[in-house]
């Protein structure tokens, strides 16, 4: 498909979507409005990140379905480690750049990209390639290294994590998009969309000291969830995650999962990962805990799933 054709299609679907969903708040209530033709979850395989993203977002009616004119948008990739893109420690910079571009095209007045990194943030931002790619695409890259960038919120629905300091880029934007990379994880078993929330909070130590899976589920009860979760599985870290030691930890299954339901997308991605390395769904405890909190569903059979192979 030509770029122009695609854009036309995207624009038309976008317009159509605004007619259907005149009330912007419907975005938050997607779980109940399952009557539309749109899928709940899109899985794509076989292309490069940008192509797969374009295919998938088109299924949702284009980025303008999520990003309205004038919106301040925050894109939250995983930039946790001082690793180059091939090491699959961080989200693919090309994907981040494409998301930023589409947000701007959809009329976003500002797109912010940030992460609360594990390694030194300057090195992570630079060596992941994300800082440069996001800036070139027109985003503002914001630091997350200092407590003053965070503000405390309460999480009334949470079990253990009753309050947390969350980055202002999340709290002050109109919508935010969660863009994790699919990785194995020594402590939490997997790191996907839910675990990526540990990069929006200041005090991660609390998570580790107070029942990590529960806290991961808890932070996802935030009253401003990501409007879209895009799981980058072009490269996947199959072992020694989340950091990885060498390229032998990385495989390239070239896939992507996209959903408004964070529990569903983590479920799907874990099932996908299970084909590469054994990873039974029940071993990834935070997914079930999140389902218990009614954040989303693990029952993919109840969802409208669109699978695309390129």
């Amino acid at each position: 498909m030509k770029r122009r054709d695609f854009l036309k299609a995207a624009a038309i679907t976008g317009i159509a979507s605004t007619i259907k969903l005149s009330d912007g708040m419907d975005l938050m209530a997607q779980k109940v409005t399952k009557t539309s033709a749109r899928p709940d979850l899109v899985a794509v395989m076989g292309g490069d990140s940008v192509t797969m993203f374009r295919k998938a977002i088109a299924e949702f009616g284009g980025m303008s379905h999520f990003v309205k004119k004038g919106y301040k948008v925050t894109v939250k990739p995983n930039i946790g480690w001082d690793k180059s893109p091939e090491m699959a420690g961080n989200t693919n910079p090309a994907l981040v750049a494409e998301i930023v571009k589409q947000c701007i095209k959809a009329g976003a007045s500002e797109v912010i990209v940030f992460d609360h990194t594990c390694d030194d943030w300057r090195k992570c931002y630079a060596n992941s390639g994300i800082e440069a790619a996001a800036k070139a695409a027109g985003a503002k890259v914001m630091p997350g290294n200092e407590e003053s960038y965070y503000r405390e919120i309460s999480l009334p629905k949470a079990v253990k994590l009753k309050k947390a300091k969350v980055h202002t880029a999340i709290l002050d934007c109109d919508v935010w998009i969660n863009v994790p990379i699919l990785k194995n994880h020594g402590g939490a078993k997997m790191t996907i969309a839910m675990k990526n929330h540990m990069g929006i909070v200041w005090d991660r130590g609390y998570f580790h000291a107070n029942d990590l899976p529960q806290c991961i589920a808890d932070i996802c009860t935030i009253n401003k969830p990501a409007v879209l979760n895009i799981v980058d599985a072009y490269r996947v870290m199959k072992s020694n995650g989340p950091q990885g030691r060498s390229l032998t930890d990385v495989v390239t299954p070239k896939a992507m999962f996209m959903s408004t339901d964070i529990v569903a997308v983590d479920t799907a991605a874990t099932n996908f990962f299970n084909q590469i390395e054994k990873m039974p769904l029940e071993s990834v405890k935070f997914i079930a805990r999140a389902a218990d909190l009614k954040i989303g569903t693990m029952d993919l059979s109840k969802l409208k799933v669109k699978k695309i192979k390129i």
Partner: protein, 507 residues
């Protein structure tokens, strides 16, 4: 351009750049400027940079103590203070004073003896470059960072993130205090008396002073045109011109050329000798200053022990332990090598992007007070970072390549299972393993589907990621024990490169 003007311009450039090296957290200054620290006297001596060292000696032999006026940041710092003092208070009129020869050489002797006996502390304390570095790192740098944070606050409030917030914390109370004392003491002496530090205490000043007594080119007073007005003497911040006898004590002259500028008779020139001047008259040392110094020395040696005793309150709710050895920086080879080469200029401390290097207290023993050690409270040693090893002018930290660093074992991991949350609370954690670049800490099956850390010290590099991130307090469940001699870590076994071909999504 007069000689003085040339001196001032060069000095300002050298000083500004050298100081900025210590402040420059954002790495604006290209790496090449590192050379400014490598041409310093004590660093050149300790790193064994024969070329630099001999050049400095030759420079002094030809031109006198140009080093002290143009290259040494502590010397220029004093000149700046003196200049400020003259601008904001009544102009100083210096008077010739006799050389404190016994004091100078005693200090030098004590420094040399203590260094030979294995203690770098005294040399570190008095080395003008090291002392300046500590001032810059512990006193000036926080101010610079504070300025940056103000800018960041301002710009960020307008949605501009060109400036970003940086962490400011006291690296070490002792180093801050010593940095402040150095600043105040030398600053005060410079404000009131000019180059007193350089000509009574500074061991480099004493050595170069000795050579400059015999230097080929010197400031010279032409007896024929001199009318003994005494103006030059009042302008001499080294107090080394005796206008009554038209004699100059060359062991103290730092080639500032201030005297040339004020001489109305143009009787003062800089050049080769026609006949050798003799100015040597032994003098008694000034007792009060001597006592002052002894007091300072004694305090700095005793105070740490007292301070240390205060900081030992510990809670015993989890398994306690004591680290047997401190972790010296990557490239320092061994605590022994480090101890004998580092003069605690703290340039590595200032440059360490993860704030893992901090001045030691007594971890290395009394001889190594203020020398940087790795401390994992604010960060851990980045696996791919070799910054400290590239900035050390003393070669106390030798240059490493990233690949060399990957198998360098500065310390090794120790797991304290009884403190681990997986053991105590039976919940997932894995923060340590997550931060381990070699998987020397690996999560292995435990019970109820949980995983618990398992350590393999052979492939551990001692980066401290695990210790830094472990959420257990007061004693962490995992820590890094220092290697007194750095070892070679085994390379971890790589898995097999495999490519997956998936046809299905798995759901």
């Amino acid at each position: 351009m007069t000689l003085k003007r040339i001196r001032v311009v060069l000095a300002v450039v050298f000083f500004a750049l050298t100081t900025f090296l210590f402040l420059d957290f954002a790495q604006l200054l290209p790496k090449e400027f590192q050379i400014l620290t490598e041409i310093q006297f004590i660093p050149a001596l300790l790193s064994g940079s024969l070329l630099v060292f001999l050049s400095l000696l030759l420079l002094t032999f030809f031109l006198g103590r140009v080093y002290c006026s143009v290259i040494c940041p502590m010397g220029i710092f004093q000149d700046i203070i003196t200049w400020l003092s003259n601008r904001f208070t009544r102009k100083k009129k210096y008077r010739f004073s006799k050389e404190k020869k016994i004091l100078r050489y005693s200090v030098l002797a004590v420094v040399l003896i203590s260094f030979a006996a294995g203690g770098t502390f005294l040399l570190s304390l008095l080395d003008p470059y090291g002392a300046f570095g500590r001032m810059a790192t512990n006193v000036f740098r926080p101010i610079y960072l504070e300025g940056n944070n103000l800018l960041a606050l301002l710009f960020n409030s307008f949605g501009n993130y060109t400036f970003y917030h940086v962490d400011i914390f006291t690296l070490s109370l002792l180093s801050l205090i010593i940095g402040l004392i150095t600043f105040l003491t030398i600053g005060f002496l410079a404000w009131r008396y000019g180059r007193t530090y350089c000509n009574t205490i500074c061991p480099v000043g004493t050595i170069l002073g000795f050579i400059s007594s015999y230097s080929l080119m010197k400031i010279r007073i032409n007896d024929g045109s001199c009318n003994n007005c005494g103006k030059c003497e009042t302008k001499c911040k080294a107090s080394c011109i005796d206008s009554k006898t038209s004699k100059i004590d060359y062991s103290r002259c730092v080639d500032c050329f201030d005297c040339m500028k004020v001489c109305k008779q143009k009787a003062i020139t800089f050049g080769f000798a026609h006949k050798e001047q003799k100015t040597k008259t032994p003098s008694m040392p000034d007792n009060s200053k001597r006592m002052f110094l002894t007091a300072i020395g004694a305090t700095t040696l005793i105070a740490p022990a007292r301070l240390y005793a205060k900081g030992l309150a510990k809670i015993k709710s989890n398994t306690s332990y004591v680290k047997k050895h401190p972790l010296s920086p990557p490239g320092s080879e061994s605590a022994e090598h480090f101890l004998h080469h580092c003069t605690a200029c703290h340039l590595c401390v200032a440059k360490c992007p993860t704030h893992v290097l901090k001045p030691a207290f007594d971890e290395y023993g009394l001889g190594g007070i203020m020398q940087p050690r790795m401390d994992f409270v604010h960060g851990y040693c980045n696996y791919n970072c070799v910054t400290c090893s590239t900035v050390c002018p003393n070669d106390a930290i030798k240059t490493l390549t990233v690949d060399e660093k990957h198998t360098l074992q500065m310390g090794h991991v120790v797991f304290v299972k009884t403190n681990c949350v997986v053991f105590t609370d039976e919940t997932n954690c894995g923060a340590c393993s997550e931060h381990c670049p070699t998987q020397a800490v690996k999560m292995v099956p435990y019970k109820n589907g949980l995983t618990i850390p398992s350590v393999n010290p052979d492939i551990c590099v001692g980066c401290g990621g695990c210790e830094h991130i472990c959420p257990v307090r007061p004693f962490r469940a995992i820590y890094v024990e220092g290697n007194p001699v750095h070892l070679q870590a085994k390379r971890f076994k790589q898995g097999e490169q495999k490519e997956v071909k998936l046809d299905d999504f798995g759901f």
